[in-house]
């Protein structure tokens, strides 16, 4: 009797320990980034140009931050939109052969190394234009986003009870209206989460940007056909540099990026209420 209770206690303790071990990296990462990044962050840090490697002021990440916001907006507009409609198509015509192959392709795309997607964008949008450009970056990010959004939207729609789909169709409206005007709001939390994951990826991905946007840190947005900066790329470049000052900027930039992603997560979670079925 006592042996059984002791065994139970030990097992619960073990499981608790494992849970802590697997969640620990999350908190370790957040802590280390904010501890190292906090010193340099100020309102000016968000708008200033980066500092020279030696001497001068602290500087900031203004152009890269604006670049990231533009890239996020563009890629979620293209990739999120396409992903949303693809996901709805997959749920509405799930039995169609085309739907089967679309889903298979998306599942393969999710596993694609993003650096390859960057190379692809380089081949189709950078080489022909003979210039690194913002649109190529957004294009590459959109391709990264599409499969995530599409598959998650499909999941969100699949979780709607069949009886509600029947109710929607019995109102005598087209599949388009059923899916976009009725079922979309039933599945809103899942869809919002899908778009959020897409947006967070757009904010954080580095590899698709390597060959596409050049990552200028010296000027603000100049047009979609011109190079543009991005926070992840700035972190990558500055962290690899030999300059102490740039390392600090990289830490600060990492803290800003993390804040964007956490804020997106929290805001979406709290604003979009779940539909109780």
């Amino acid at each position: 009797m006592i042996a059984r209770k002791v065994k139970n206690k030990i097992m619960i303790g073990l499981i608790g320990l494992l849970a802590i071990v697997s969640a620990a990296p999350l908190f370790a990462i957040i802590a280390s980034i904010y501890v190292n990044g906090a010193r340099i962050i100020s309102p000016r840090f968000l708008v200033d140009f980066p500092p020279p490697p030696l001497g001068g002021s602290d500087g900031g990440i203004g152009p890269a931050l604006v670049g990231t916001l533009i890239l996020m907006a563009l890629s979620i507009l293209i990739g999120g939109g396409l992903g949303l409609f693809t996901g709805i198509f997959l749920s509405e015509y799930g039995h169609h052969i085309l739907s089967h192959y679309t889903r298979l392709s998306l599942q393969i795309m999710v596993e694609f190394p993003t650096v390859i997607i960057g190379l692809f964008a380089y081949a189709v949008l950078v080489l022909p234009l003979r210039s690194f450009n913002a649109f190529a970056g957004a294009f590459a990010l959109a391709i990264v986003i599409i499969p995530y959004v599409a598959l998650q939207v499909r999941e969100a729609y699949a979780s709607i009870p069949y009886s509600l789909k029947e109710a929607a169709y019995s109102l005598g409206v087209s599949p388009f209206v059923v899916n976009l005007r009725i079922l979309l709001s039933v599945a809103r939390r899942g869809v919002a989460t899908a778009l959020l994951v897409g947006l967070a990826r757009a904010a954080g991905e580095t590899a698709p940007l390597l060959f596409t946007i050049l990552g200028t840190t010296l000027s603000y947005f100049e047009g979609l056909d011109k190079p543009i900066g991005a926070v992840p790329l700035l972190i990558y470049n500055f962290a690899l540099s030999p300059y102490e000052r740039w390392h600090e900027v990289a830490w600060g930039a990492a803290a800003v990026l993390l804040t964007i992603i956490l804020a997106l997560f929290i805001v979406t979670r709290s604003l979009v209420k779940e539909v109780k079925l």
Binding site: A167, S170, V173, V186
Partner: protein, 253 residues
């Protein structure tokens, strides 16, 4: 145009399974018509063939004709959406849209179909439908409340109001009381008798007593075939077929 519903040689398959076999039925206007039979006999399928909701099932294949109000809803000119407006449907599990308020649940159909021209007209239509469904007095002060907070019976009457708001010609009910308590169920039954003044009501039930209570005409369906059709009083007192007799006296599922 004599018949509200005229089903002619209807055959339905789910994949290779032949679920409705040569069904022909005529349903007169302003009556409650019950389709009864043991589970799995094809009742719900037959009902869903009457407004083409069956087509949501990609495996379903339909052959034959269903005339609603003089229109063959399976002819090439008819869109499934039109068929669904002609024949509104109430389901086995009350299924109001859980994210919408009581008001919006009724207003959604007319809004999406462009039936109303102004907010005032919509308000009037919603009130009319809720009154017609015997729900108005219970909810008139809380129209903004989420529909999910209503009781099961109220939710089902809300679904009836949602259907009425589209001004259908006939109302299809798929075991509308199967998930309700007896009091709520008897309210729905009363409502059916009221509704037949203006509509034709087709109800599917697995309960012969309910068919006897509410219907004027009844069809007995068994393994996808119509075994017997007739006036309810005749079918229950002098069934012509042995299977019908077994069913109505409760000797069969």
């Amino acid at each position: 145009m004599r018949w509200a519903v005229d089903v002619r040689n209807l055959n339905v398959w789910y994949g290779l399974k032949h679920v409705l076999k040569n069904v022909s039925l005529r349903i007169p206007r302003n009556m409650v018509f019950a389709i009864m039979g043991p589970s799995g006999c094809g009742k719900s399928t037959l009902l869903r063939a009457m407004n083409r909701l069956l087509e949501l099932n990609p495996l379903a294949k339909v052959e034959g004709e269903v005339w609603i109000n003089g229109v063959n809803i399976y002819s090439d000119e008819v869109d499934p959406m039109d068929a669904r407006r002609l024949a509104g449907m109430v389901f086995q599990v009350p299924n109001p849209f859980p994210h919408l308020s009581i008001y919006e649940n009724v207003a959604l159909g007319p809004k999406l179909n462009g039936i109303v021209r102004s907010k005032k007209e919509l308000d009037e239509l919603v009130e009319w439908a809720l009154r017609k469904a015997y729900l108005w007095d219970e909810v008139k002060d809380e129209l903004k409340k989420p529909a999910a907070r209503l009781s099961g019976g109220q939710q089902q009457r809300l679904c009836i109001a949602r259907t009425l708001a589209l001004k259908p010609k006939i109302i299809l009910m798929d075991e509308p009381t199967a998930n309700l308590d007896p009091v709520a169920a008897s309210k729905i039954e009363e409502l059916m008798l009221e509704l037949k003044e203006d509509y034709t009501v087709v109800i599917v039930t697995h309960n012969p007593q309910q068919a006897a209570r509410v219907s004027d005409y009844v069809a007995f369906l068994y393994m996808g075939e119509v075994i017997e059709v007739g006036e309810t009083s005749n079918v229950f007192t002098t069934p012509k077929h042995e299977l019908t007799e077994k069913y109505v006296v409760g000797k069969m599922g």
